[in-house]
């Protein structure tokens, strides 16, 4: 690990000031991804600003019945919070399907948003080619072992996937990310927070280097009480998703779908909001044919590689399965 300066910030403004104009400095939250990447030599900050003592750990109801989640709320606390378990069960399920109890006790919500890909070619500097780690060096995964890689939204520069479960649920729930920078606060719609790789895969998010995530807001969404997170992986537990689905349905009389929220994990560079699937679902009767049509529409543009083409059919079936589970809820 490279040497670095360590300091603690007492408030958000102090933290923002500390990183302003210093691209080699980073905020330190739970550390579960950053410290690991520093051990690997992938991240080499020369300054760490420990933000763990900032008062940003609250989870509270908003006047409009939404919920504000402080950026330093631990993944375990968020998953177990009564407001989340009752109003947004998909988020609680997504959190509990990720990592281990130990890591969830450490990991923060803001840090979860900033997780970097688990692409082997990115994570190990022993591989020379990775456009995300070293722009212009190529993509080792494109013709390499690409079993865990993207089938939607990727570019020739990068076929990495976002590893987060929590973020898939947040994408489905229309969350809003609140950030603070030198010029004050701004809000970023969750679906605009993470980026597709395009020609700049080194940039995972649209967060500016001198901005600090302070909170994530969940809008009121009564029908999200009927929601579900389905995660498919190589092990029964404690593994990243090959494919995951966050789904919520607003069902009217005769099982007609008034509104739908669907997002996919494990298949793209960002948490993938399934707009095409949602469009197919609205106005239709909730049944397997409808769900299959929605899945087909969403995966129509998918492109597989040597080792990950199985994800396309897996994602379709996962969508049908998740939506069927939601529709069957009382």
């Amino acid at each position: 690990m490279n040497p670095f300066t360590y300091s603690r910030a007492a408030d958000a403004d102090q933290a923002v000031t500390a990183v302003s104009g210093k691209p080699e400095s980073k905020f330190l939250g739970g550390g579960t991804n950053l410290i690991d990447l520093m051990k690997m030599g992938v991240e080499r900050p020369n300054e760490l600003i420990d933000i763990n003592r900032l008062p940003l750990g609250q989870i509270e109801e908003l006047p409009d019945k939404g919920v504000r989640i402080g950026a330093l709320a631990r993944n375990s606390d968020l998953a177990e919070h009564e407001l989340i378990k009752t109003r947004y069960p998909v988020l609680s399920q997504a959190l509990l399907s990720g990592a281990s109890p130990q890591l969830r006790n450490m990991a923060t919500v803001g840090g979860n948003l900033m997780q970097r890909t688990r692409c082997y070619y990115f994570y190990d500097p022993g591989f020379p080619a990775c456009n995300k780690r070293k722009p212009g060096s190529g993509c080792g995964a494109l013709d390499g072992y690409n079993r865990i890689h993207a089938v939607l939204g990727q570019s020739e520069q990068c076929i990495a996937t976002n590893p987060s479960d929590m973020c898939v649920a947040l994408a489905a729930l229309d969350a809003v990310v609140r950030v603070r920078g030198p010029d004050g606060e701004r809000q970023i719609a969750f679906v605009d927070f993470h980026r597709l790789p395009g020609d700049t895969p080194e940039r995972d998010t649209n967060l500016r280097p001198d901005e600090l995530i302070t909170a994530v807001d969940l809008p009121a969404m009564p029908f999200a009480a009927r929601s579900h997170y389905l995660k498919l992986r190589d092990r029964a537990s404690y593994a990243f998703a090959l494919v995951s689905v966050a789904a919520a349905l607003d069902l009217g009389s005769n099982h007609k779908i008034n509104a739908a929220r669907v997002a996919l994990g494990g298949i793209a560079h960002k948490p993938w909001r399934a707009n095409a699937a949602e469009k197919e679902l609205v106005g239709q009767e909730a049944n397997e044919n409808t769900f299959r049509a929605a899945a087909e529409a969403e995966l129509a543009p998918a492109k597989g590689y040597k080792y990950n083409s199985f994800k396309i059919e897996l994602a379709k079936r996962a969508i049908v399965h998740a939506l069927s589970n939601v529709a069957a809820m009382g």
Partner: protein, 223 residues
């Protein structure tokens, strides 16, 4: 180097709006001045002010290269330890290499195996993925802190009775994790225990016996 620990700790309120810098790349002498100058008016972290007081300063060992060490007060198994650590030192390495508490094990060193599991303020974490300097004032419990004198923790007894190990390398992490599991209330079925113990890998495959040990400890509790 011991003389540097006698650096006067004078507070300068004029610097109180600056970040509290507790470790950086420059000299130790300047480091102490900056800590002293910035910690007086801290709204948070009063324990840090305590750790910077002269009577707690531990003589410094040879610094690693051009880097400075950082002062941190670790409370482990009920005892306080004032340490100077490299900011890069993980909590696991501080426990093992500085405090000689070698019960916590380094398995993967990447948060994947759980052998390094300890309790921080009652919650289980991977001590390999957190820096020692982040734990100023936290209450840390390791496997060495579970027994009461000669009386083993019920989970320790249960692991012995049920042969919850073969080589034993993962066992301290398994037991610390299981202590937290019982407190969290997620040991209500075999499947639930398996899921909530999934962050602790046992390469000997002693899982059935670990499960049996946890179930028994749950029933018996602590006298």
């Amino acid at each position: 180097m011991a003389t540097e620990s006698e650096e006067p700790v004078g507070f300068d309120a004029s610097e109180s709006n600056e970040l509290e810098i507790v470790g950086h790349l420059e000299t130790r002498r300047k480091f102490i001045k900056q800590v002293a100058g910035t910690s007086a008016a801290l709204a948070i972290g009063p324990r840090l002010v305590g750790s910077a007081s002269p009577d707690q300063v531990t003589p410094m060992t040879t610094p690693a290269g051009p880097r400075d060490s950082v002062k941190v007060n670790l409370r482990v198994n009920g005892k306080s330890h004032a340490l100077d650590v490299d900011p890069r030192m993980t909590l696991l390495d501080a426990l093992r290499e500085r405090l000689q508490l070698t019960g916590s094990k380094k398995g993967c060193d990447h948060g994947q195996c759980g052998a390094c599991t300890v309790l921080v303020n009652g919650r289980r974490i991977n001590s390999c993925l957190t820096l020692a300097v982040m734990h100023e004032g936290d209450e840390i419990t390791t496997i060495e802190g579970l027994a009461r004198g000669d009386e083993l923790h019920p989970l320790q007894t249960a692991f012995i009775e049920h042969d919850g190990f073969q080589c034993g390398y993962c066992t301290p992490g398994q037991i610390c994790s299981a202590v937290a599991l019982l407190q969290e209330g997620h040991a209500n079925s075999d499947d639930e225990i398996r899921e909530w113990m999934s962050g602790n890998i046992c390469r000997c495959g002693a899982y059935p016996n670990i499960l049996a040990a946890i179930k028994e400890a749950k029933t018996k509790g602590r006298a």
